[in-house]
Symmetry: C2
Subunit: 159 residues, 2 copies
DNA sequence: CGTACAACTGAGCATATTGCCCAGCCGAAA
DNA sequence: TTTCGGCTGGGCAATATGCTCAGTTGTACG
């Protein structure tokens, strides 16, 4: 599902001014409204655009502390651990990774002290053998996608 | 900036049906349109809602492989390394964390083989002493915020 | 107990956008 | 040469938006 330049420009525009609307978009891109609409529909059914959910800042919600935890799981306990972690609101994300049957998760907390509570809740579960935590100090590159979109658009064009 | 129940319901609604519009929202929530509009404005200027950017799936863009890299930086090279990583499109996110002056970043690649190229590009920089990579196999809990929003809304109400 | 203030309601209005339709045009593939 | 998918540019009714305003709550505070 490669994307072309126009798709790329649509995505970039949408990222810069999300509330822009199809009509204004078509004006800025210099194409017909129907075209933009068709592209958007395609991007969404393609799964390239998963949605337009609001991006909520945990810090503004009172959870300014972010941490990454690496978990070591007891053999066969994977599914249980996943289910457990899914019930903890402060677990924002969970991945299983290569390595020693490991998992990696992103946590938030109200304070460093509160982080202890969260970690206790996370690791206070039978299948978890060991956990190591790294607290995030800075976030020089916040989650971004535009450079990759531009890369993908350029690549597809180079054909 | 605590949020109340109504804010919470707005955020949840918005997360479930992002394209919903203020009017329809006010109908579903049973409040006046102006109220929803005021709340939304407040949530945005609060910074609770950072935006409504499109959520783009790297996999659909041709980058199905995700990995986390932990980097060890040479003293004083932090800023240079950050600037370097910011230029790599495949670096989706970068954090500095506690530990041995470490950084943690999220990478994507077109394939496992391509991941090698990305890693080479990432670590092929002078200030980086050591790097270890974990490839993501599964993502049992994709990045989510709703449970935390509900938690925060409930907390604020319990006053 | 009374007052002042902030928030919500319900309504109206002009303007802009949406979703949907169509006919015509063009370039690429068969 | 024919066919077909994608783009254009236009029109239409229905709907949403941004804005304003007066009246009503609810609550904190003197």
């Amino acid at each position: 599902m490669a994307i072309d330049q126009l798709d790329g420009r649509i995505l970039v525009l949408l990222a810069q001014e999300p509330r822009i609307g199809v009509l204004e978009m078509s004006r800025r891109l210099g194409v017909a409204r129907g075209t933009v609409q068709a592209r958007l529909d395609r991007l969404q059914s393609n799964g390239v655009i998963q949605g337009f959910g609001p991006q909520v800042d945990p810090a503004a919600l009172g959870y300014p502390v972010t941490a990454f935890a690496t978990l070591q799981i007891r053999q066969g306990q994977g599914p249980d651990v996943r289910a457990h972690l899914a019930t903890v609101p402060e677990v924002l994300e969970l991945h299983t990774t290569t390595g020693t049957g490991d998992m990696q998760c992103r946590l938030v907390a109200r304070s460093n002290a509160d982080l202890q509570r969260v970690i206790d809740r996370v690791v206070g579960f039978d299948g978890i053998v060991r956990a190591s935590t790294a607290i995030v100090m800075e976030n020089p590159v916040p989650l971004r996608i535009i450079p990759l979109v531009e890369q993908a658009a350029a690549d597809s064009e180079r054909t």
